[in-house]
């Protein structure tokens, strides 16, 4: 049986535990043993330790990586930042022996060690490579019935590609998330702003209006080019923008349409038969039409 360490991060367990529920559900349904990473922390977010120093970044990520290594597992995360931060830390640890040496000393002081063996996966790459599209197709209980999906892979799931264990052939023309939606019975066309940033993250914290305006530009293109039933998102931070951020734009009367949004983990869990109320518990934009379509209506 395949095993994986579930790395939760912050936004998923605290803001969107419906994604955590969904990740746990889909792993179970796909026959993957979940290993809890007891004592894991924030990845740490780009604006925290990585903004203090390279050693600071590397040692704080090494804490988490060492917990997975001790248990003999790789990590799976649903958050783009957790994916980017920890993969980059892994990369720096390999590239900078002088930093690795300092990291080792600090880890030793707190009774830990890290040999650099852990790979960090996101949900897209995990499904694509570790589960496989054919297996996923066989296991789903509900076909997406031609649901039109606009996919958002998320910046941190794409770049810097050289730090990642797995990924797209062309990161500026991502296909994996589209293929996953399509193998489940959806339709997921390319669109012109497919790799554009959603504006969540530091921009949202430090320049909220500019962040939401950037997001609206992207949404407008999605609406015009695809007019999708659903946005399918590969990163929990992007999902916060696509869902709660979109609700905020509507509340501010800056948007006069709605595009429901789900994290890939949520959509896959629903297709595998998860309890919809739990898998979508924190959604702001109503998903009724989407669920009806998946469950066999028109």
């Amino acid at each position: 049986m395949q095993k994986i360490g579930i790395f939760l991060g912050c936004n998923i367990p605290f803001n969107r535990p419906d994604i955590e529920y969904s990740m746990r559900f889909l792993l179970k349904e796909l026959g993957v043993e979940i290993v809890e990473l007891e004592g894991a922390t924030c990845c740490p977010a780009y604006g925290t330790m990585p903004s203090l120093g390279l050693l600071e970044w590397a040692v704080a990520s090494a804490w988490n990586l060492s917990i997975a290594e001790e248990k003999g597992v790789d990590m799976l995360t649903g958050c783009g930042s957790c994916y980017g931060v920890q993969n980059e830390a892994n990369y720096y640890l390999k590239k900078h022996p002088e930093i690795k040496e300092q990291v080792d000393k600090i880890l030793a002081k707190v009774g830990r060690k890290y040999d650099g063996t852990v790979k960090v996966w996101n949900v897209i790459n995990f499904i694509y490579e570790k589960i496989g599209l054919d297996t996923l197709k066989q296991k789903i209980k509900y076909n997406l019935n031609g649901l039109k999906c606009a996919v958002q892979t998320g910046c941190h799931n794409l770049w810097p590609s050289k730090a990642f264990p797995s990924g797209e052939d062309n990161t500026f023309f991502p296909k994996r998330l589209r293929e996953i939606c399509e193998i489940m019975g959806g339709v997921a066309p390319h669109y012109s702003t497919i790799t554009d940033c959603c504006g969540m993250g530091a921009l949202r914290s430090n320049a909220p209006e500019k962040s939401l305006a950037l997001f609206k530009k992207k949404l407008d293109v999605i609406k015009e080019e695809l007019d999708p039933d659903l946005a399918v998102i590969g990163c929990s931070s992007c999902l916060l923008q696509f869902d709660a951020g979109q609700a905020l734009l509507i509340e501010q009367k800056k948007l006069n349409y709605k595009i429901p949004a789900l994290h890939l983990a949520q959509l896959t869990a629903i297709a595998l038969g998860a309890e919809v109320e739990k898998a979508t518990a924190m959604a702001s934009i109503p998903l009724n039409g989407v669920i009806t379509k998946i469950k066999g209506g028109n």
Binding site: P13, E38, G39, A45, V59, A60, I106, C155, A202, A213
Partner: protein, 178 residues
């Protein structure tokens, strides 16, 4: 930043020691920049309308314009998306220039207040993002009130705090590390 405040660059303000400081803080390829502008063409900060986006930041960093870089808050709006790193033909890793500026800024407390909030949460709870009301949200989806992270294990949290105290956080944190 005042509107338009960075339009005029006074070259006499250049400080070579600041360039060296940034290089030491991780911007190690800074000097190789050819100002081709590719990073700026792909940068969400530029697309969002932040005036001081990545190409200009790399330029100012190369000129050692310490005051401009530390007074302007644009570096804190960087999305860490790494498009610039992916695309730079000179392998400058422009994002590392952003981080180097942030690292220099933090040393002189020239960072937005929310930076400290994230660090304080990280130190206290093991989580930089720590919103209220999560227990209810977790219960609603049938999960235990607390996730099995350092939040649930005092022993781990104390060790993690000990680890954080071995870093520069010990020197710069404007909150008690106890």
């Amino acid at each position: 930043m005042e509107e338009g405040g960075v339009n005029v660059i006074d070259l006499t303000q250049g400080d070579e020691s600041f360039v060296k400081e940034l290089i030491a803080l991780g911007a190690d390829e800074l000097r190789e920049c050819i100002q081709c502008g590719k990073c700026g063409a792909t940068c969400p900060m530029a697309l969002a309308g932040l005036e001081f986006f990545i190409k200009r930041i790399v330029h100012a960093a190369n000129l050692g314009l310490r005051d401009i870089l530390l007074e302007d808050s644009s570096v804190w709006g960087c999305q860490s998306c790494n498009r610039c790193v992916e695309i730079c033909p000179m392998d400058i890793k422009p994002y590392e220039v952003i981080q180097a500026v942030r690292r220099a800024a933090v040393k002189v407390e020239a960072c937005p207040a929310n930076t400290y909030e994230g660090l304080r949460n990280l130190y206290r709870f093991g989580h930089a993002v720590f919103p209220k009301g999560f227990e209810e949200r977790r219960k609603k989806v049938g999960l235990p009130e607390k996730p099995p992270t350092a939040l649930s294990f005092d022993e781990f949290r104390k060790k993690y705090q000990e680890l954080l105290r071995q870093t520069i956080l010990e020197e710069i944190a404007p909150f008690p590390l106890d």
